[in-house]
């Protein structure tokens, strides 16, 4: 059997891609430039599309190709481009100011990844042929680190990025557990995520216009 038909090879490929996805996520926590963060998100989405395509190929699930294509077009290309344009348009400072400093954030992200492995272990069944629990562990790690990024960052745009990372984690979970949700549902979720990002971008633009800042800690007049 040639190696590109061997499911074992497919599994290894997917595990490697998933590991890269996790590395990118931690990179996003670790570095401070907004533009790099957006590009890292783009690359991460590209890797997710690659994982989806690999799964489609080795499991002969043609509908997953569509999902991979959607991910590639929207999440890997269009969304990062749109976000970069937004950054250029509102002329914000390019640096991210996390609440917890970078080394501690990275260590914490590592701990969250460890926790994700523990959670994913409970899903593991040795008797069952599947994608292994590695991919699921990465998915849960993305989800948890996305949460952490959400609370650790004050800029409105970085919160949107964190939300998109959460969403990437979900996507990976869905695809590693069940080869993706049914196509029409997946498309609907995609549409919702896109519209949500668009609306949030408009909202950021208006917040920037009104407050002359994107710092969400300034959004603190409503209390009690």
């Amino acid at each position: 059997m040639l190696f590109w038909q061997d499911p074992q090879f497919g599994e290894k490929l997917i595990t490697m891609l998933a590991a890269l996805v996790l590395v990118l996520q931690i990179l996003m926590v670790a570095q401070r430039w907004l533009i790099t963060n957006i590009r890292a998100f783009g690359v991460q989405s590209f890797l997710l599309a690659a994982i989806a395509a690999t799964i489609a190929y080795f499991n002969h699930a043609p509908h997953v190709y569509v999902v991979a294509a959607l991910t590639l077009i929207f999440k890997a290309i269009l969304l990062p481009l749109a976000l970069e344009r937004l950054v250029a348009k509102i002329e914000i400072r390019q640096e991210i100011e996390p609440l917890v400093n970078v080394p501690i954030s990275v260590i914490f992200s590592g701990l969250l990844a460890l926790l994700a492995y523990v959670v994913a272990e409970s899903f593991h069944r040795p008797d069952e042929a599947g994608l292994g629990h590695n991919t699921l562990a990465v998915a849960i790690a993305l989800f948890l680190i996305g949460f952490f990024m959400m609370v650790n960052r004050r800029k409105a745009l970085t919160q949107v990025l964190a939300l998109l990372c959460l969403e990437n984690g979900l996507f990976l979970a869905a695809i590693s557990l069940t080869y993706g949700m049914p196509l029409i549902i997946e498309a609907g979720i995609f549409f919702d995520v896109l519209v949500a990002t668009l609306l949030l971008a408009i909202l950021i633009y208006r917040i920037r216009e009104t407050f002359d800042s994107m710092d969400v800690s300034r959004l603190s007049r409503l209390k009690g």
Binding site: A156, L177, D192, A196, L199, R206, L219, R221, L222
Partner: protein, 494 residues
Amino acid sequence: MPILVLLLIPLVASAASLLLRNLRRMEAAYLVSAAGSFAAAVWLAAQVLAKGVVEWAGGFFYADHLSALVALLTAFVYLAAAPYAVGYFRRDVEQEVFGNGQTGAKLRKYYALTPLFAFSMLLVAVSNNLGVLWIAVESTTLASIFLVTFYGRRTSLEAAWKYAILGGVGLSMALFGTVLTYYTAHQVLGGESLSVLNWSVLAGSAAHFDPTVMRLSFILVLLGFGTKAGLAPMHTWKPDAYSEAPAPVAALMATAVVNCALYALARFYVLTERCVGPAFVSQLLIIFGLLSIGIAVPFILIQRSYRRLLAYSSIDHGGIMALSLGFGGALGALGMLLHMTFHSVTKPLLFFCAGNAQQHTGNDALKKGPGGLLHSLPVSAPMFLLAALAVTGTPPFSMFQSEFTVLRAGFAAQRTAAVALFVAFVIAIFCGFFYHIANLVLGPPADLPRGEFSRWKTYPVIGLSLIVVVLGFWLPAPVYALVDGAARILAVQP
């Protein structure tokens, strides 16, 4: 067929508002869509009562008693808010709230987005597929973000940001829960077909699902849809959004959205209960329910703004519904759904009165603001007091009956401690709420002009007040049949 009509009417109205040039025609399209949606919801309810289950598009859309009840309540609030909104915005236009040249665009935004908002809530009620259910709940957030920023104040942007981000995070958890449910269902039912996510299919085989996965799934769904319903501690967006949105939108959010989120939660509740037994889900729902009721208490007692007061009251009532579902059994489900029904009638009345008062006095302050509204608002002010009594569960109003049912459900489930806390919280909330509203309405006259603005704003108030009073003594048999049928769906023992 009724499902198709129900979904199409608000969609068409939304599109029409984008095309129409004339403000009066936009208002007309909006009013017609509200009346049409309500008629379609009544039609759907009648069909469900006659046939049991209505399906469309091969089971993709599905309505049983529970769906029909939620659709009916949503359409009812949509209908009640329609004439009120017309009057409310005419008053805004007269006061030149929007600045020059902005009026048309602003109102078009309202008349286009609100039907879309109603559409997504109706879709929540009739979608069988759990994936579509999630998409619909997410759409309710998307459709309403720019209704929260309607007035474009700094505080509205702040409220909308919290609403969008918390809603987004919450719903991503709900989606994770949905994915997990799909995963375990996939293992049992197999196949790649769409029907594996259909609730009607899942409910039949939930007993064979993996209990670990279902537990995790339910926790995520509870946190997710709980955020949308405003259960504590994920409730923080609620007072902000409710006090910044225009009053008719706030009325929709405080009733119909809460209903939809709890409806989605209830669907997962049934699946999880059938898989892992009632103890686990009950425990969680009771904790979150009591926490929501409890957290409302201090904020209601010290509240300074009556719009925010209403938001905390809505957190309290969402908590009561979750608590009742948590008590379980036939009585618990009945208590939850009765409370949902009565709350959906009473809460819009409060928001309308609050909106009238706010537009009349120009602010929504409780302590520093002018008291003695009774002297300047001859209709809205006394009805405000009546609605405050009704919503805090004072007899003979209907919410007393539903809260009493919740109480009985608690005793039947032998949760005495939870019941004791519940009663203590409800009494404290009654005192705080009534004290604030009484101060606002009674009190010495402030020098404000006397008189209501227009019939558009007073007739909905009078109409709803009549319904609230009548419901205290008489619940129409078909409505009760619907509630009862829905309660059976939530309370079934397999």
